[in-house]
């Protein structure tokens, strides 16, 4: 299998706390991989470790055959990784347009991707002049994903895209993520197992800072015991 990203047995410390104690994640090209696990298992830290926001102390992170651990975050991101954090991180004082412009890595990125972005999220076009503070939670989530699409990214790291959203919006968001995954590989953190199981082709389960199980999503769906043990959902 052709992996776009390989996280190999990484250990990450935050302060003195040993948060990740051996996480291995393979993200195959051209599909959605879901990181599953309970609250506090280390899913968000895994994403931050990939990006170098919390650099790993041990282990490798390999993007497209190139080791990227230890590089600075902006450098890693510029190699083609888009990040949608769980807290969305919309810039409050910037307008929607500026929130998109700031993600340009080359001049004209936004113009080139405009069609794709407004095709996925038509609402954003209407809101373009509003400031970040004036958006609803769902609109902020759309903008956060749109922002990650402005530059030419090979891989998107999306953290909890449906958290706190109304069911109607969740459906919209799922449709958008499915659509964008046609040309971009996605590593998705999702608490809502129903959502994750519909979107992802592959899964990795993280439990107490270790990756404990991985495989294809259809196999997991048949394995009720695992679902119950690690995810607490039926």
């Amino acid at each position: 299998m052709d992996n776009l990203l390989e996280v190999r047995d990484v250990h990450t410390f935050i302060g003195q706390f040993h948060i990740l104690q051996g996480v291995t994640v393979n993200v195959p090209k051209g599909a959605i991989t879901a990181l599953l696990g309970r609250n506090g298992a280390g899913k968000t830290t895994t994403l931050k470790t990939i990006l170098g926001l919390t650099p790993p102390r041990q282990g490798q992170v390999v993007l497209d055959g190139q080791e990227i651990q230890g590089r600075r975050t902006f450098d890693i991101s510029a190699m083609g990784i888009g990040f949608v954090p769980d807290y969305r991180a919309i810039f409050r004082d910037l307008t929607v347009a500026e929130n998109l412009q700031i993600a340009e890595r080359k001049k004209g990125d936004l113009a080139r991707r405009q069609e794709l972005i407004f095709g996925l999220f038509p609402d954003l076009q209407r809101l373009i002049k509003l400031r970040g503070t004036q958006l609803s939670g769902g609109q902020q989530q759309m903008l956060a994903i749109a922002r990650a699409l402005v530059a030419d990214n090979k891989l998107l790291l999306i953290d909890e895209p449906t958290e706190g959203l109304a069911p109607v919006i969740i459906e919209q968001m799922m449709a958008a993520i499915l659509k964008l995954s046609a040309d971009t590989t996605v590593l998705l953190v999702e608490q809502n197992f129903a959502v994750a199981s519909q979107l992802a082709k592959h899964y990795v389960i993280i439990e107490e800072g270790r990756s404990v199980q991985r495989g294809a999503m259809p196999d997991l769906l048949k394995d009720e015991e695992t679902i119950h043990r690690y995810l607490g959902a039926a």
Partner: protein, 522 residues
């Protein structure tokens, strides 16, 4: 109409505060004659402009990097001293241009070293010791080179040759620069080479440092030609400055005080920006995760900076005469209109029965407004401004978008300190140049920021305005007295009440609006 009412209703506290301030202002001008309050307002605006230059830089730095730069007052003062040197002693400034250019040319070899060292791996122990050895060696070579380079300065310990005297001379129009120092060819070449080499060694030390921290990495494919080319150009510029030294000095003396003042403003601002960039990239950067150490560091740097200034320029307050453009008395002066003032280069204008000083009350304020507009434009309309505004909120996310936030930090630090240094050189002619000029101003700036909201740029402007106006009104009432109903004699505020009154205003505003006028609720 309804929208206006809505806005007021939503921002009720702001509206009430604003109304209260306007009422206070109207009450304050009641007790004065028209001419008096106009001059007081103008002086307030001028003080506000200088305060704003310090406060805005401080607030930009604090907003983006959470660094409370307690050295900001000292850097303001250094701006004044550097400006004074360019203004009063252009010969010394030009003498320093060559060593500076050569030093920076050496420092610019950093990318070259980075490239050459990228395949080398150091053992742990060598990595601990080597960079320090190289850096200390570099500093020694620099000192060796600089001591042998011929510079014409002053002598703090001999009154006749002290900076104070040159200030007075210029004020009297009898500036008498000392004879330039010379050195023979061998010494000269040796010193120039040492300066270049010292810079190069320093860069090498830094490169080894960086290498130790990141380990060996794949090298960039090509040599960093651009940096090497710029270094070469700098060497040529340095030699050019040396060859043209006498001609340039004569030219600057001939050019007169107005042009030299312009030069002083540019040089002081650039030196300030350079100092800021240097401070951030070497001293502050390792301490971002440790706020207390940072505080101690900037506090210490402030004290050290002041002692260095005293050692170099002496303890006595120096005069910085106003540039010719604002310094003519008689011959159509005081002018009746602002155009006449410019045409005759008047020092004062008659306006509504009071004399307004063109430099203190008009020029400084105009520059303050100009800086406000330029920085506002930079923040709101440029990409770097957009990145700064975003970074103030969440610099991790900005970095995760592929933007090198570290460079932006250095830029903002340079900008903030550059603004303070600009404030210093502008304040030189009106306040005098002394080593304690920064401290009271930093206090005023901090009060202004607390009033306006610590990280808000409009807040810095509004806070500075309030502080400046209040200070000057109290000063004026100290002269004419306030008639209070329950006192037989008019009450005359004493000078210590000037800073106290601004603190009082701050306390009141913070009680009503804990985040300041423009602060954001967290």
């Amino acid at each position: 109409m309804t929208t206006i009412i809505d806005t007021i209703r939503k921002n009720r506290t702001q509206a009430v505060t604003l109304a209260a301030l306007i009422v206070l202002f109207l009450l304050a001008i009641q007790g004065m004659e028209t001419g008096d309050w106009i001059i007081t307002v103008l002086r307030g605006l001028s003080v506000a402009a200088v305060t704003f230059l310090v406060a805005s830089g401080f607030s930009l730095i604090f907003g983006l990097m959470d660094v409370l730069n307690l050295a900001h007052g000292t850097l303001f003062m250094i701006g004044a001293y550097v400006g004074w040197t360019a203004y009063v002693r252009p010969d010394t400034l030009l003498d320093l241009a060559t060593p500076a250019a050569l030093f920076f040319a050496g420092l610019l070899l950093l990318p070259l070293w980075d490239h050459l060292l990228s395949r080398v791996r150091l053992s742990h122990r060598a990595g601990r010791v080597l960079p320090w050895v190289v850096i200390v060696l570099g500093l020694a070579v620099l000192a060796f080179g600089f001591a042998r380079y011929p510079t014409t300065g002053w002598d703090v310990s001999v009154y006749d040759k002290s900076p104070v005297v040159f200030g007075v001379q210029l004020d009297l129009g009898q500036l008498d620069l000392p004879k330039p120092t010379t050195a023979d060819g061998g010494q000269l070449v040796l010193s120039m080479l040492s300066l270049l080499m010292g810079g190069g060694l320093l860069a090498l030390g830094l490169a080894v440092f960086a290498m130790r921290n990141r380990g060996a990495m794949a090298a960039a494919a090509r040599l960093p030609w651009r940096a090497v080319m710029i270094a070469l150009v700098l060497v040529i510029i340095g030699i050019g400055f040396f060859l043209l030294n006498d001609a340039l000095t004569a030219g600057l003396v001939q050019a007169g005080t107005t042009w030299r003042f312009l030069l002083a403003v540019v040089v002081a601002t650039l030196v300030g920006a350079g100092l800021g960039a240097l401070m951030e990239s070497t001293l502050i950067r390792p301490l971002y995760a440790r706020p207390i150490y940072q505080l101690m560091l900037t506090l210490g740097l402030g004290v050290i900076g002041r002692e260095v200034v005293i050692a170099l320029w002496g303890r006595t307050q120096m005069q910085m005469p106003k540039p010719a453009l604002f310094n003519t008395v008689g011959k159509g002066c005081p002018a009746q209109t602002i155009f006449d003032a410019f045409a005759n280069q008047c020092s004062t204008i008659n306006f509504m029965g009071s004399r307004i000083r063109t430099y203190n009350e008009i020029f400084i304020f105009v520059i303050g407004v100009l800086v406000l507009v330029v920085v506002w434009f930079l923040l709101q309309r440029t990409r770097i401004g957009m990145i700064i505004r975003a970074g103030v909120q969440d610099h991790e996310m900005v970095e995760a978008l592929g933007i090198n936030v570290r460079q932006v930090f250095t830029f903002v630090f340079a900008l903030g300190v550059g603004l303070a240094a600009l404030g210093g050189v502008l304040a030189g002619p009106s306040m005098g140049v002394s080593d304690d000029m920064g401290e009271s101003l930093l206090l005023s700036a901090l009060i202004a920021l607390a009033i306006g909201g610590l990280t808000s740029f409009p807040g810095a402007a509004a806070g500075s305005l309030l502080v400046g106006l209040l200070q000057q009104f109290i000063v004026k009432y100290g002269q004419i007295g306030i008639a209070l109903p329950f006192l037989a004699q008019p009450f005359k505020p004493t000078p210590p009440l000037v800073p106290a009154s601004t603190l009082l205003l701050m306390v009141i505003i913070l009680l009503v609006m804990p985040n300041g006028l423009f602060g954001r609720k967290e």
